[in-house]
């Protein structure tokens, strides 16, 4: 049932149509590479520029100029020669003996599996929100701030009633600002970043003062502060269901030694973003723990080259740097791909790279300040008790901690004991928490504890779809072993 004829192939496959992917694909096409861009969303933009081509929120003052900058990426992309496959979910990237990548993806509209060959792959799969495991975070009525922002961008859907935002980080305040612009009432913001943290951030303030974020950031923050009550120094939050409803009804939080309870309709959680590493791990690239960002990052050089040949990573997937930096990283990755494939020599690559490196440096200015200022509080990364850690398999913090106390060596043994990480999200919402809880209980550093082993498929795919892929004589004889 595989498609007849030679397998489709290309020079460069870019996975992800956010700013890094769009910029990489556009630049690569301009350099003359036969390029394919594949993305699981139906339209380009990734998450930060989600629905940039179709948002019903056309009043530009609501989402703000930074969002609408996405059009500056979209238009050149649409004009370039890159083949664009939308609504397609990549679930395996296998290296063949000749060094090419065999990529399996499913088009979600018709549930068909396809294969594509690529000589070079650039991952631009971006980031996801850091898990924020508070008691009750699995209740309907609790969603991430990113989810709320997607509802706004894609459908103009906004919360009403009593809405509380909780956590910290630029996205939380950006959302609050966008809501204010749209006339959405926000009850309060519960800020969980520890109050003294600005002191740690101060040494990095020079970079921040010179950064493009300073002016915009200050304006945005003061607008939000003026309109929304902000509770600082929040040390604990609990989402509570109504009696018998199984859905969010109340919120309890502690700040300044006092505990308050209030009736609430929506709780929007956010404590930063972390790179999506499932695909980069499954392909086998090296990763390292970032102490500054409390998360795993793939090991990449200045061009985004990984520990594996012909594999680059661009954008937030290589380490959180934000949307503007992401596009410059995308262009650098495209230049590196072109040089690796022999289209341009390394001198030409370095010459062309110079302006993008300078732009990247400017865009990244001030990040250290933000990272330090908004570092997620340890207590909210390392839950206790009945708080759910693995949402898919409903494994609690105490179960993980107890297994760690019993000597469980690491996340993979933990997975085998408790099933955490075995659900359809494949550890995306529990992996970091499990690593940190083992570290906490055993007095080890997260970098020594390690992470789940990730293998293909990196997103669930039906058995029928897998069955349509090509088999070989070898694979048949490895599986069917009856012989007379």
């Amino acid at each position: 049932m595989s498609s007849p004829g030679p397998m489709p192939n290309c020079d460069l496959l870019v996975i992800g149509a956010g700013p890094a992917g769009l910029a990489a694909a556009t630049c690569a096409a301009e350099l003359g590479l036969d390029t394919v861009l594949i993305d699981e969303q139906p339209a380009p933009g990734g998450q930060i520029y989600r629905a940039i081509g179709s948002t019903p929120v056309q009043d530009r003052a609501i989402l703000g100029a930074d969002y609408w900058h996405g059009l500056d990426l979209l238009e050149p992309f649409r004009r370039c020669s890159t083949r664009y496959i939308a609504g397609a979910m990549v679930w395996a990237v296998n290296r063949l003996e000749d060094g090419k990548f065999e990529v399996a993806y499913t088009t979600t509209a018709d549930h068909q599996a396809h294969l594509l060959l690529a000589r070079h792959v650039t991952l631009a799969t971006g980031a996801q929100e850091r898990p924020f495991p508070i008691p009750g975070w699995t209740l309907p009525g609790v969603i991430t701030a990113g989810a709320a922002q997607i509802l706004l961008k894609t459908s103009g859907v906004v919360p009403e009633g009593t809405t509380v935002l909780a956590g910290g980080g630029p996205l939380l305040y950006l959302l609050a600002w966008q809501y204010l612009n749209a006339g959405v009432k926000i009850h309060s913001i519960l800020q969980t970043t520890p109050p003294g943290q600005w002191r740690h951030a101060l040494p990095h303030a020079w970079g921040f003062l010179r950064s493009p974020y300073l002016g915009k950031g200050m304006k945005l923050l003061s607008a939000v502060r003026a309109a929304v009550p902000i509770v600082t120094g929040v040390t604990a939050i609990e989402a509570l269901p109504g009696p018998g409803t199984g859905q969010l009804a109340e919120l309890r939080y502690s700040a300044g030694g006092k505990t308050r309870t209030l009736a609430v309709d929506q709780l929007l959680l956010h404590q930063g973003v972390v790179p999506n590493t499932n695909l980069s791990r499954a392909i086998g690239a090296d990763h390292a723990w970032s102490d500054r960002q409390d998360c795993w990052e793939p090991a990449v050089d200045a061009f985004g080259a990984t520990s594996l040949p012909q594999l680059t990573i661009a954008g937030d997937g290589a380490g959180i740097v934000g949307a503007v930096a992401a596009e410059h990283r995308g262009r650098l990755a495209a230049l590196h791909a072109a040089a690796s494939l022999g289209h341009i020599d390394s001198k030409a690559r370095d010459r062309a790279a110079a302006p993008h490196r300078a732009a990247l440096a400017r865009a990244a200015r001030g990040r250290e300040f933000f990272e330090t200022l908004y570092r997620a509080a340890p207590a909210l990364r390392r839950p206790v008790g009945d708080t759910i850690v693995c949402r898919c398999e409903e494994v609690t913090a105490e179960q993980v901690r107890q297994a760690a106390r019993m000597g469980c060596q690491g996340p993979n043994q933990m997975k085998a004991f408790l099933r955490c990480g075995m659900g359809p999200c494949q550890g995306r919402f529990c992996g970091l928490t499990v690593t940190e809880l083992i570290a906490d209980e055993q007095g080890r550093h997260p970098r020594d504890v390690g992470y789940y082993r990730i293998r293909f498929p990196i997103k669930p795919v039906t058995l029928g779809e897998i069955a349509t892929l090509p088999q070989t004589d070898e694979s048949r004889s490895a599986v069917v072993r009856f012989k007379k």
Binding site: P42, P56, T154
Partner: protein, 102 residues
């Protein structure tokens, strides 16, 4: 609860799409994901989990949490946030583990 922002001046009028949710008709907008349509209609819980039967609903809206699972046109465990509404689509809440359709 969620509501839709009023259409901006000059924005083209959105096309209405009618789907059913557990058999009940629901009007939503062309371009909505199933998850967005559910939120706009006041539905935040779309399934009971296979593990313990507690209620869950869409959480991340970007296809990574797998909490927004619903039945769509007879296929179980589809991500509501990754599926666009289509005229006549039949959405079912996913109650517990799916069946194997023998």
């Amino acid at each position: 609860m969620f509501r839709r922002l009023d259409a901006s001046d000059g924005a083209p009028a959105p096309r209405t799409v009618r789907i059913t949710v557990d058999g009940a008709a629901l009007d939503c907008r062309d371009g909505d994901s199933v998850a967005a349509a559910l939120f706009a209609a006041g539905i935040t819980a779309c399934r009971d989990t296979a593990v313990s039967g507690v209620k869950r609903g869409p959480f991340c809206m970007m296809g990574v949490c797998y909490d927004c699972l619903v039945g769509i046109d007879g296929r179980a465990n589809q991500q509501a946030c990754m599926t666009k509404v289509r005229e006549g689509m039949a959405v079912q809440r996913q109650i517990g583990a799916r069946e194997v359709p023998i």
